[in-house]
């Protein structure tokens, strides 16, 4: 990545003209955003441990200095801001409602406009652009995971109540495909009328947006929303919290008439349990701990529904980690983190994985395909003492 002088000048001017300058003045640099108290939020930038100021709090000073002409953008800064995993620890912690992640996002957008992003991130953008998914897989392989299963496609014409938005990670990543396969079996067992978009589905765009590619996000969202309109979709179940966040919070910003009820699958299943539609017949005699995905928890405040599902499963014993719910530590995969090289220092996924191991339970339960990939990755690095990782869907399926 090489910044030209013109790039730097443009970006500097953009910072000077942009709203971000007013945002930084709301920040009083108290450091609450990267605080570790009382229950230990862990900022991904701070845990990389290059000093107490080298995080969103410090970026405040960087932006002010750009504004005042004392410094310019640099490739080092560009490399750095892509290490944020958009876990919203800073947003959760900020007492001044600054939303410090705005600094990161704003700078990322300007870098992306000029193609000045890390190579690994650029590859993801290319894949989305060419294939409609983040994994570099062919568009027409999106439905391969449904082979042998009864999974209706929206374009087949049958009526359905729910559109299942599968998402890239569940459609293409083998470990997550298994989860998706179990989920549709659950839906079929319960007699839920659903359909998927199949090859018409595109990446939700969440990752593109969080990595600063607003234009690409808009294209993806527009394509998906056209499909929703075409099939008169009224309700969506999202398998991934990342897709859920985009559909629920970002799509309505693009189309004010977007009027579709969006549920994460944990909300959907918890509701069925509450209504008595979903009941369990088998015991799952396991002691587990649950990891709150950032995009389900801090981004959308969904903490109770996953726990309600786990509580309803006979025989299951939940042991909470020290950091749970709003205080949860990130898996490290969000905001493009799953594709970024780690720097020196402690990384958040290792902190979280270690904490799960320290509970001494048999199983780490997640509700997000990205979390699954991140923690399975940690298991790869810990072959002597791995922990079993299951999606809530798998436990529900076992108990049916």
């Amino acid at each position: 990545m090489n910044l030209t002088n013109n790039d730097i000048k443009d970006m500097t001017q953009s910072i000077k003209d942009g709203d971000i300058y007013n945002t930084v003045y709301n920040c009083r640099c108290c450091g609450s955003c990267v605080s570790t108290w009382p229950s230990g939020h862990r900022c991904s930038l701070s845990t990389l441990a290059q000093g107490v100021q080298i995080n969103c709090r410090g970026l405040n000073g960087v932006i002010k200095n750009i504004k005042e002409g004392k410094i310019d953008f640099s490739s080092e800064l560009a490399d750095y801001v892509f290490r944020c995993v958009s876990c919203h620890v800073c947003v959760e912690n900020c007492s001044e409602f600054v939303n410090p992640v705005d600094y990161i996002h704003d700078i990322r957008m300007q870098l992306v406009e000029r193609g000045l992003v890390p190579d690994s991130i650029m590859e993801v953008f290319k894949s989305i652009d060419q294939n409609g998914n983040v994994w570099g897989e062919k568009e027409d392989k999106r439905v391969d995971w449904t082979t042998g299963l009864n999974v209706p496609l929206a374009n087949e014409g049958a009526e359905f109540d729910y559109l299942l938005f599968v998402g890239d990670s569940s459609a293409y990543v083998p470990r997550n495909q298994k989860t998706a396969q179990l989920f549709v079996q659950i839906l079929n067992k319960l007699g839920i009328r659903f359909a998927i978009l199949g090859n018409e589905e595109r990446s939700s765009g969440n990752e593109a947006l969080k990595m600063g590619e607003a234009g690409l996000f808009e294209d993806l969202a527009t394509t998906n929303m056209e499909s929703f309109a075409k099939y008169k979709v009224k309700k969506i179940i999202a398998l991934s919290p990342h897709g859920y966040d985009a559909l629920k919070n970002e799509y309505p910003k693009l189309d004010q008439n977007f009027d579709i009820e969006v549920l994460h699958y944990t909300e959907f299943l918890a509701k069925l349990i509450e209504e008595g539609v979903l009941t369990f017949t088998k015991a799952v005699n396991e002691t587990v701990t649950y990891h709150d995905p950032c995009y389900l928890g801090r981004h959308n405040q969904i903490y109770d529904q996953p726990r309600a599902i786990l509580a309803a499963i006979p025989g299951l014993n939940l042991v909470e980690m020290d950091h749970n719910k709003a205080y949860s530590i990130c898996c490290g995969g969000g905001g493009g983190g799953i594709w970024m090289q780690r720097g020196e220092g402690v990384v958040v996924e290792q902190l979280r994985y270690k904490e799960a191991l320290e509970t001494g339970v048999e199983t780490l339960v997640i509700a997000c395909p990205i979390c699954m990939q991140m923690f399975e990755g940690e298991n790869e690095n810990n072959k002597t003492n791995p922990i079993e990782i299951k999606d809530i869907i798998e436990l529900v399926f076992e108990a049916l």
Partner: protein, 502 residues
């Protein structure tokens, strides 16, 4: 600062302590050009940031800085409010990698940590063992023990425990020559092996409140205590008038004479009370129409917190006794909602940020130790200044009662900053905050308040007011500890002797 000298020092330090510990990227240096002070004008970008990992690293840094006469500013959480870092073009020593807990000594009820150990992180560990470090700093998650001691902070439960100085057993510091000095006295802890200067005077105090001007604190041993098993709270309301505020101060003043009765007392004025109530109840209506009614409802509020070690009844008895005293001052018990929230914040199950800035955005923050009986006078002057400067309502002031013999007001004029969309408007408001700060410093001194810092804004007042003889001795000690005046040059009162001798 001469860039060639900075470059030379960076090269030497990289070779001696390791390249990854010496950071010179422009954007990193720029991120270290300020603390939380709102009053400084002359922001500079430091020459380099260094992240030492051992006392030997710190020694090497100081030796090199001493050799080349490069200014050194040490930071912990970088939440200092007096702007020591802002004009520094030399070295910033960031202690965030020296954050280990070295020892928890249950037999002596002490713990020893590196200077960069985070207070809240250490408290988490202590809590798991049934202990705590009770002087919770009022603000800021990143705060460290080194900075806590350097600043002699107070904290939320200072009413019972006082300032940090009372809890420091000893410390290790690197002085301006690069020498390491270990202070402390085993008179207090006969079995502790850490402090061998038992027959000598204890120099610990030289480093307390010194803001890093005498040496860089690399290790500190503090007293800990048992976590109270039981807690109780009480909100006591007073009339939202000057007389009501005076009555509230008198109540707190009388209450603190009953040793062991209260753990903590916060006195919130009617504006703060209203804003906190609004925050905690989730109300978003701040229209002028509701203001007067809301202020009357809120009144001035004293939030009391009690701790018990034997039973809940012990706490409840304390509450009953305190409320009898409140009644004699026309205070009315209104429940536990707010005091309970404060107590929960201190005991760890509520986020810091949900409580500290409940009143809104911080414009101007002044910290003084003010005699209780003088608080109404200072408060009245404060209101007058706010009015004269045309600062917009709603604003709030929050006053935290502290210490056995003093109290410490925190002032928070509230302003919805996000509505200041124009830079010019922001700057104009900031000027007013600065002026408010200046006037409050003057007023504080008029009321016999004790300054709560040794640098920047306080410097001229201190040089004028402090005992010249005592100050000259302190300045002499500074010269001994830091002969080339490399620690915080141009900032603190301690270097005056150096200037005079020159």
């Amino acid at each position: 600062m001469n860039q060639n000298i900075i470059s030379e020092a960076a090269e030497v330090l990289r070779s001696k302590i390791g390249a990854t510990k010496v950071l010179t990227d422009e954007f990193i240096r720029a991120s270290y050009n300020h603390d939380i002070s709102l009053y400084a004008y002359d922001y500079s970008i430091p020459g380099m940031i260094i992240l030492p990992e051992s006392v030997e690293d710190v020694q090497t840094i100081v030796e090199e800085a001493n050799r080349l006469h490069i200014p050194v500013v040490a930071i912990g959480g970088n939440t200092f409010g007096n702007g020591n870092i802002e004009s520094n073009q030399g070295i910033v020593v960031d202690f965030s990698k020296m954050n280990k807990i070295l020892e928890i000594d249950e037999s002596n009820m002490t713990f020893t940590v590196e200077g960069g150990a985070n207070i809240h992180a250490v408290n988490e560990t202590l809590h798991k063992m049934g202990y705590c470090y009770p002087t919770y700093p009022l603000c800021f998650g990143p705060i460290t023990f080194g900075s806590e001691v350097s600043k002699n902070s107070g904290g939320e439960v200072g009413s019972m425990f006082g300032h940090v100085a009372k809890r420091v057993i000893g410390l290790e510091a690197v002085v301006g020559t690069g020498d390491v000095i270990v202070t402390g006295s085993s008179n207090t802890l006969k079995t502790s092996p850490n402090f061998i200067q038992s027959s000598l005077p204890d120099l610990t105090g030289v480093f307390i409140s010194a803001e890093g001007a005498f040496g860089l604190i690399t290790k500190v041993t503090m007293q800990m205590q048992v976590v109270p098993k039981y807690t109780a709270g009480a909100d006591v309301k007073f009339e939202p008038t000057k007389e009501g505020f005076k009555a509230a101060c008198e109540f707190v003043n009388e209450l603190r004479n009953y040793k062991g009765l209260i753990c903590n007392a916060h006195l919130l004025d009617c504006y703060s009370g209203w804003l906190d109530e609004r925050f905690f109840t989730g109300s978003t209506d701040i229209s002028a129409e509701v203001e007067e009614e809301a202020l009357q409802r809120a009144g001035h509020i004293v939030l009391l917190e009690f701790e018990g070690y034997t039973s809940q009844e012990e706490c409840d008895r304390k509450v009953t006794d305190a409320l009898k005293i409140a009644e004699s001052h026309s205070g009315v018990y209104t429940g536990t909602m707010m005091s309970d929230i404060f107590a929960r914040a201190e005991h760890g199950d509520l986020k810091l940020t949900e409580i500290v800035y409940a009143g809104g955005f911080v414009g101007c923050m002044i910290m003084t130790n003010t005699p209780y009986e003088k608080m109404p006078e200072l408060y009245a002057a404060w209101l007058k200044n706010v009015e004269e400067l045309g600062l917009p309502k709603p604003y709030t002031s929050m006053i935290v009662a502290m210490g056995d013999d003093c109290c410490m007001p925190f002032y928070y004029p509230w302003h919805p900053r996000r509505e200041l969309s124009e830079e010019a408007e922001w700057n104009a408001t900031m000027e007013k905050w600065r002026e408010l700060a200046n006037r409050t410093y003057e007023d504080a001194l008029e009321t016999g308040s004790v300054p709560y810092a040794v640098s920047r804004k306080w410097k001229p007042y201190l040089l004028d007011k402090l005992d010249k003889g005592y100050l000259s001795y302190i300045q002499g000690v500074k010269k001994l500890f830091d002969p080339n005046n490399i620690f915080n040059p141009g900032v603190s009162v301690f270097e005056e002797a150096e200037h005079e001798s020159n």
